[in-house]
C-alpha cells in the first residue's frame, strides 16, 4: 500500500514538473523569438487554449517535440485529402493547402472546403472516450464477476458517484417514474465531462470542455432530447399557457418560452465552456506574469516565480473541484430540463378555482 502511494506521488510530481517546465519553456521561447516586440500574453494564452492541427508536447513551436495528427479535408474540386499535419509546416504547403498566421488551414486557390481533421481536441475527445469505455467496461465486469458481493477496488471509487447520479440527480429531478430511461445518458454525460475535465489538467492535454464546439455538441444533444420527449402538458405551457389572456400569450409569454427552449441548453454550453476555459486561462496567466515581470528586469521574473507557482498550484487544486462541480451542474440541469418536459399536470385542479 505504501509503495503504491509513493509511485502515485512520483507520477504526480513528474507530471507537475513537465507542466510547469512546459508552459514556462514555451512562454520563454515565444518571448525570445519576438525579441523585437514585447512578450504578448494574450496571444500566448489563446495559442495554448485554442485547437491545433498537431499535438505540441514540449519545446518551441519550431523544432520542439510535437506529434503530427491527420488532416482530413474535402473540397468539391480536389476531393478528399488526408495527410499528416507535419506536411503543412513547409512554406509551400501541401496540395494547395496552407496554414495561415492564425493557425487555420487556407486553400491557396481560395475555394471553400470542409475540414474534418483529427485535431488536438478531436484526439483528446477520442482518448477520453476510449479511457471512459475502458474504465466502465472493466468496472461493469467487476460487478458481474463479484455478483452480490461488497464493492472492491476501483469499483468502490465509482459506485458512490453512480449512486449519487442515480439517486440525487436522476431520481430527484426526473422522478421515480421516468428516471431509469435517462440514467444512461446522465451517467455518460457526468463521467464524460468529469473525466475529460480531469484529463484536461494533465500538462499538454487540452481541456476539451474548454472548447465551445464540444460543449455545443453536448448542449445540442440535451436540446434535441428535450424537444422530443416533451409531453402535452409541457408543450401546452410553452405554446399556449392556460389561464392567461390571448394577447399576453401572443405578444409576451409564447415568444419568451420559445426563447427559453433554446436559451437553457445555450446556457449549459456557455457555463461549462467558460468555467473550464477560464480555469486554464487563469493558470496560464499566472505563468505569463513571470515573463511580464521578466520583461522589466530579469530579477523581477525570478523573484515573482515562487508567487506565480503558488498561485498555479492553488488554481490547479481549484480546477479539481471545478472539474467535478461543472460535471455535476451540467448533469443536474440536464436532468431538471428532462424532468420539466415530463412533468405531469398534477396541479391542474388548483388552477381552476
Amino acid at each position: 500500500m505504501k509503495g503504491r502511494i509513493s509511485i502515485f506521488t512520483l507520477i504526480f510530481f513528474f507530471l507537475g514538473f513537465i507542466f510547469f517546465s512546459n508552459t514556462i519553456f514555451a512562454a520563454d521561447e515565444s518571448a525570445k523569438t519576438d525579441q523585437s516586440e514585447k512578450f504578448n500574453p494574450g496571444e500566448f494564452i489563446i495559442d495554448h487554449v485554442t485547437d491545433k492541427y498537431e499535438w505540441h508536447i514540449i519545446g518551441p513551436h519550431e523544432g520542439g517535440i510535437s506529434i503530427p495528427l491527420p488532416v482530413i479535408l474535402y473540397s468539391n474540386e480536389q476531393g478528399l485529402d488526408v495527410f499528416l499535419s507535419s506536411k503543412l509546416k513547409n512554406e509551400e504547403g501541401y496540395h494547395g493547402y496552407k496554414l495561415n498566421h492564425e493557425g487555420h488551414i487556407e486553400a491557396e486557390s481560395g475555394t471553400s472546403f470542409y475540414d474534418f481533421s483529427i485535431t488536438k481536441a478531436v484526439t483528446a475527445v477520442f482518448i477520453t472516450s476510449i479511457l471512459i469505455l475502458l474504465i466502465f467496461t472493466l468496472v461493469a465486469k467487476t460487478y458481474t464477476r463479484r455478483q452480490g458481493q461488497a464493492p472492491k477496488g476501483f469499483q468502490s471509487l465509482i459506485e458512490p458517484l453512480i449512486i449519487f447520479v442515480r439517486d440525487d440527480i436522476a431520481k430527484q429531478s426526473i422522478g421515480v417514474k421516468h428516471y431509469q430511461r435517462f440514467l444512461p445518458l446522465l451517467l455518460t454525460l457526468f463521467f464524460f465531462i468529469w473525466i475529460s475535465n480531469f484529463i484536461g489538467l494533465i500538462p499538454s492535454f487540452p481541456g476539451i470542455m474548454g472548447n465551445i464546439s464540444v460543449t455545443f455538441t453536448l448542449a445540442t444533444i440535451v436540446l434535441v432530447i428535450t424537444l422530443f420527449i416533451g409531453n402535452k402538458h409541457y408543450w401546452q405551457h410553452i405554446l399556449w399557457m392556460p389561464g392567461v389572456p390571448a394577447w399576453v400569450k401572443i405578444s409576451l409569454l409564447t415568444p419568451i418560452e420559445i426563447i427559453g427552449i433554446i436559451q437553457r441548453p445555450f446556457v449549459l454550453m456557455i457555463r461549462l465552456f467558460a468555467n473550464i476555459a477560464a480555469g486554464h486561462i487563469v493558470i496560464l496567466a499566472f505563468v505569463c506574469l513571470i515573463f511580464i515581470f521578466g520583461d522589466k528586469s530579469e530579477a523581477g521574473g525570478w523573484g515573482f516565480s515562487p508567487v506565480s507557482m503558488a498561485f498555479e498550484l492553488f488554481m490547479n487544486a481549484m480546477e479539481l473541484l471545478v472539474a467535478f462541480l461543472q460535471a455535476f451542474v451540467f448533469t443536474l440541469l440536464t436532468a431538471m430540463y428532462i424532468g420539466s418536459c415530463l412533468e405531469e399536470p398534477h396541479h391542474a385542479e388548483e388552477n381552476h378555482h
Binding site: G42, E43, I46, V49, T50, D51, I72, E102, Y114, D115, F116, S117, I118, T119, A121, V122, V125, F126, S129, I132, L133, F136, T137, V139, A140, Y143, T144, Q147, G148, E159, I162, I163, R166, Q180, L183, P184, L185, L187, T188, F192, I208, N211, I212, S213, V214, F216, T217, L218, T220, I221, A277
Partner: protein, 172 residues
C-alpha cells in the same frame, strides 16, 4: 478593442469538424456504455440493494417468528404443567378412593369373618353345652342308679330313703 476581438474570436467560434467528431465519439460512448457498462452495473446495484433489503426483511421476520415460537413454547410448557397437575391430582384422587374402597372392603370382610366366627363359636358352644347336658344327664342317671343300688341293698336304709324321698315329695 482589436485585442479583445482577437482574444474572443478563436475561443468562441465553434468548428464543425470538432462538433461532428465529438458527436460521433459521444454517441458511440453513450451506446457502448449503455449496453456494456450501465446496464450490468445498475442491474447489479439494484440486485444488491434488493438482496440487502430482503436480508433485513428476512432477519426481521425470523426475529418475529422466533418471538412467536418462544411464546408458543411457553404456552406449551404452561399447558404441560397444568396437564401434569391435573393428572397428578386425578391420580391422587384415584389413589385415595382406591385406598378408601379397599379399607371399606377389608373392614366389611373382617366384620363378616368375625361375625361368622362368632356364630360358629356360638354354635359350637351350644353344641358343647347340649353335649355336656346330655353327659351330665347320663352321669347323673348313672350316679343315681349306683346310689339307688347301694341304698337299696339294705332294708333299713331302703325304708329311710324312701321315707325321706316321700317326705320331700310331700313337702314339694
Amino acid at each position: 478593442m482589436k485585442l479583445g476581438i482577437l482574444l474572443l474570436n478563436p475561443l468562441l467560434s465553434p468548428s464543425y469538424g470538432l462538433i461532428v467528431w465529438t458527436l460521433f465519439a459521444f454517441l458511440i460512448v453513450l451506446f457502448l456504455l449503455k449496453k456494456f457498462a450501465w446496464k450490468p452495473i445498475l442491474k447489479s446495484l439494484q440486485e444488491r440493494e434488493d438482496s440487502i433489503q430482503s436480508a433485513i426483511d428476512t432477519a426481521k421476520k425470523a426475529r418475529e417468528e422466533m418471538a412467536s415460537l418462544k411464546s408458543d413454547h411457553e404456552k406449551i410448557v404452561a399447558q404441560a404443567k397444568t396437564d401434569r397437575d391435573t393428572i397428578l391430582k386425578e391420580a391422587r384422587e384415584i389413589k385415595d378412593k382406591m385406598i378408601a374402597e379397599a379399607k371399606g372392603l377389608a373392614s366389611k370382610e373382617g366384620e363378616r369373618i368375625i361375625s361368622s366366627a362368632r356364630e360358629s363359636i356360638q354354635n359350637e358352644k351350644m353344641a358343647a353345652i347340649t353335649e355336656l347336658k346330655n353327659q351330665v344327664a347320663t352321669l347323673s342317671i348313672e350316679i343315681a342308679e349306683k346310689i339307688l343300688k347301694q341304698e337299696l341293698s339294705e332294708k333299713d336304709k331302703q325304708k329311710t330313703v324312701i321315707g325321706n324321698l316321700l317326705q320331700e315329695v310331700k313337702m314339694n
